[in-house]
């Protein structure tokens, strides 16, 4: 019966076919009852069919089968000798049969609806379970990925700390430099997290990292086309910008009232593969002298960006102002236009 129910819930039989099939079945039952089974009350033989029809085809079909069965059953026992075709008890029995089978058809149809609801609930439960399992799997992957990235960031922080301590003259200056570098890393992380740690918009990164140093737009003029950095390069770029801005604020164009920095970039397509040309130019600051030794800052700015961007990175201590230039292939540097 379950299979019939399953089948009927999954398939739709057109109403005409359904009612023709029920009519034929009722007539066949009537014939069988008349020809072969004379020992039972005429109506009892129809009850299984009515229940089956109501279960498989629903309420309307069940009620129709009840009425049709009552008519056919009455027909099989009718007699022309009776003035109203049936005797009084036969009329009473037929009416009772009709009432009982209508109730049975109704109940069977309700049972069918309950089965359909149960089936839906089971399917929904299975779907929910599947979704839950999928979500748990994704959560696990996400946690692993988060842990992986966190440990990589910790390794970067560990290196920044070690380099800072290694190159510091004293502990207070190491403390100051380290705090500022960690803030810069934190700012870069804010931009990266906004894009699921996959990439970072160059302008957003510049704004986030340089805003604490000077007003963007007046003391630091920024212009260039939309560009997206990959996560590894973005972190190094942020640290390099921080070092450039710190140096400018201490000794360069941001150390007086009149100097400013121009940070510009463009995409050059003339030599085959598109290339990024980025320029940090300090203007109007005090005369610049080359440092006597290379510290974390210049290493970060030059060597590190050269490595991350797989191109050229050149730091020039020109007397009129520090100049830093990056030239790299967009694709090799993991950058995307837009």
């Amino acid at each position: 019966m379950d299979r019939f129910l399953e089948w009927s819930l999954e398939h739709t039989v057109p109403p005409l076919y359904r009612f023709v099939a029920i009519t034929v079945a009722v007539i066949l039952v009537g014939i069988v009852r008349t020809l072969f089974v004379t020992s039972l009350l005429p109506w009892l033989f129809f009850i299984p069919l009515i229940v089956f029809v109501a279960l498989v085809f629903g309420r309307g079909a069940g009620l129709y089968a009840s009425v049709a069965s009552t008519i056919v059953a009455a027909f099989t026992i009718s007699s022309r000798a009776e003035p109203l075709w049936l005797s009084g008890p036969q009329w009473a029995g037929s009416l009772l049969f009709l009432v009982v089978t209508l109730g049975l058809a109704w109940l069977s149809a309700e049972l069918r609806s309950a089965f359909a609801r149960y089936r839906n609930l089971v399917a929904q439960h299975a779907r929910t379970n599947d979704e839950l399992k999928t979500a748990e799997g994704q959560q696990l992957l996400l946690n692993e990925e988060l842990s992986h990235r966190l440990k990589n960031v910790l390794a970067v922080v560990q290196s920044v700390v070690s380099q800072t301590l290694r190159q510091a003259n004293d502990l207070p200056s190491a403390n100051t430099a380290l705090s500022a570098r960690l803030v810069a890393l934190g700012n870069a992380t804010t931009v990266l997290t906004a894009n699921s740690w996959a990439s970072a918009d160059i302008t957003a990164m510049i704004t986030q990292v340089l805003s604490p140093h000077a007003e963007i737009g007046s003391r630091i003029k920024v212009s260039g086309p939309p560009l997206t950095l990959n996560s590894r390069g973005a972190l190094a770029f942020a640290l390099a910008l921080h070092e450039l801005a710190t140096n400018a604020a201490k000794y360069g164009a941001l150390s007086n009232e009149t100097g400013h920095v121009e940070l510009t970039w463009n995409i050059d397509r003339q030599a085959g593969e598109p290339r990024l040309r980025l320029l940090w130019e300090e203007i109007g600051g005090p005369p610049v002298t080359s440092p006597t030794r290379r510290g974390f800052g210049s290493t970060m700015i030059e060597r590190s960006l050269k490595s991350y961007f797989r191109g050229e990175a050149k730091l020039e201590y020109r007397p009129e102002g520090l100049r830093f230039e990056v030239d790299c292939e967009l694709e090799a540097a993991g950058m995307v236009e837009g």
Partner: protein
């Protein structure tokens, strides 16, 4: 392959795409008396290994850009240069031991460089 040099237990190749980490490791090993070679990906590492035949220790990150990740590089090094002391590092908490080449140490990031140095000393003895 380049001109053959005697293998020096104090020659190390660092393969790490995070330049910030690589520079610090390079400084650390230099201070510890190692001659350090640096590569940002597997292709660079292979080129250095072919040129510098005296390298005895290779420390590689698993996640590397380019044609080959750190695990593939480790297998390549083990096959091509069997006596090399191999250390593989990653931010992942663990890695299936069967994924690593024989006699390879896995180290989770971040790691203590001094302890790493001890492990390398033990492995090169």
């Amino acid at each position: 392959m380049g001109q053959s040099k005697p293998i020096n237990t104090h020659n190390i190749l660092l393969v790490e795409d995070e330049a910030i980490i690589r520079f610090e490791l390079a400084d650390f090993f230099s201070d510890a008396g190692y001659e350090v070679f640096e590569a940002g990906d597997a292709d660079e590492a292979i080129a250095i290994l072919e040129r510098e035949t005296s390298i005895r220790v290779v420390l590689t990150d698993i996640q590397l850009p380019g044609s080959m990740d750190g695990l593939k590089l480790a297998h390549y090094v083990r096959d091509r240069y069997p006596p090399t002391v191999l250390l593989v590092t990653s931010g992942a908490a663990h890695i299936a031991s069967e994924a690593l080449p024989l006699n390879t140490r896995f180290i989770t990031k971040p790691f203590d460089p001094a302890r790493l140095l001890q492990q390398i000393d033990q492995m090169t003895r």
